[in-house]
Symmetry: C2
Subunit: 310 residues, 2 copies
Amino acid sequence: MNVAALAGGVGGAKLADGLAQVLPPGSLTIIVNTGDDFEHLGLHISPDLDTVCYTLAGLANRTTGWGRSDEGWRFLESLEALGGPRWFRLGDRDLALHHERTRRLAAGERLSGITRDLAARMGVLTTVLPMTDDTVRTMVLTDEGELPFQVYFVARACKPPVRGFRFDGAERARPAAGVLEALAGADVIVLCPSNPWVSLDPILALPGLRRAVARGVAVGVSPIIRGQALKGPAAKMFREMGIEPSSRAVAEHYRGLLRGIVIDQEDAAEADGIEAAGTRTLSTRTVMKGRSARRRLAEEVLEFARHLMR
Amino acid sequence: MNVAALAGGVGGAKLADGLAQVLPPGSLTIIVNTGDDFEHLGLHISPDLDTVCYTLAGLANRTTGWGRSDEGWRFLESLEALGGPRWFRLGDRDLALHHERTRRLAAGERLSGITRDLAARMGVLTTVLPMTDDTVRTMVLTDEGELPFQVYFVARACKPPVRGFRFDGAERARPAAGVLEALAGADVIVLCPSNPWVSLDPILALPGLRRAVARGVAVGVSPIIRGQALKGPAAKMFREMGIEPSSRAVAEHYRGLLRGIVIDQEDAAEADGIEAAGTRTLSTRTVMKGRSARRRLAEEVLEFARHLMR
């Protein structure tokens, strides 16, 4: 069974790891949001790609939920003492990945090729693709004006109320080599439990992406449980966009794309409404605590998808 | 008493620290070689400036003789694991200084202004000046061709036999603001025990520098003791340039510039010959182990200079 998964950061990376535990490396492609990418200290930083690669490599920091394990802070501590910018927390180990990516980009290599090689050096066997090698930048439209994603997310801590989103460059960007092929060749497409507005929508904004997903057997996993996101501003964004956050709202958000959606058992009461609106549902435990929980959820998602294919 | 000192890396930094212990901050200016500066991982690295600043700030690593104390290696370890360049050893803390300098240079600031500010943030009260804000690059002419200094020094570990030196850009470079003023206003000019060929010659190659030093009361400290350098390739360079390394050879190297030279007591037998050739000498202990030895040598150097002024 060939599977392609669309993923953003933490939640998406966890399910991607579950899928990687279940599927042979050659049958799984993770397509990752790069709308959060940005330049900082002259470095090209790809937060979602890094979270996915660190998670798949078993190098992710389980305490913080972002960055690397066995991380050190001497660089940042010294940078602060010198009056340098401190708003984006760069660990000593994490910094190496940004440096090496930036060095190779400057030498003319593509992000997708660099990612393939660096992931392999970390021991990741699964194919991890940036959604594009071109520049797409998620802009958050807020009451304080349009903010680049990292400014909104890190520097402003998601405080400014959101009015909309713009994926700058998305219309002109080409999906990275392998993205459309992976979607076309996939028996199942998984939309991981990432933020719909700022993690998966940037991917879906690329030319041909929505169509490729709609043509396949696509299953989503709701990142909203009892009206809340486990992590990040997804629920807050739904609310500020005038939508009550719920699993049903997630299913609605992806209307026309999903055959089925996996929702948390806590939201089982929403299943009938979602099914009535045309999306099949599976209610189960969607919180992934530990590697085995990721594997269990991945197995259930794939079993659900198999069921939908019949 | 106003003092200006020309310094390169480790040995120069130690005497600079000794002078800083003896003199009030406003009376001392350290003029530092930037011919060793280079670009690595997109960062502007100034090894001698950093060694001088770290030493004056009490942040230098006493074990390695270069870099910072309480240093970590997570960055480099992770960079190596990703296949990145490993030939230049960048510590986690040290990296912060290169990043901050590079960020500010890219923003259009001058190296001298950045150095003043960063040194102050490290707690350095003495004036530390890069020799120039322009680009001068020390090239080592070897049997294997002309090598940029860091390639010769670090990557090739000083192995290729030396035939000469070239300070690329020196003729067109302007001494940084304050350099000629400090030399003109100095009661004493100290040539620190740095490598004559690649640490002080680049400074002396700048327009107006030799003249400014020759006009003042200049005292050198020999970096050669019993035909050897305490650290670095100075003795090897003398030999490969066809000169037997000795304190006398150092005095000869600076002919026309020095009123006096401080040589190690181990070389006291050379004093007569050096004096006969026109340079006054002081024989004493020149090896600086610990901060108090730096202070003691600085006091002796200044006392010797006072004596020469009479």
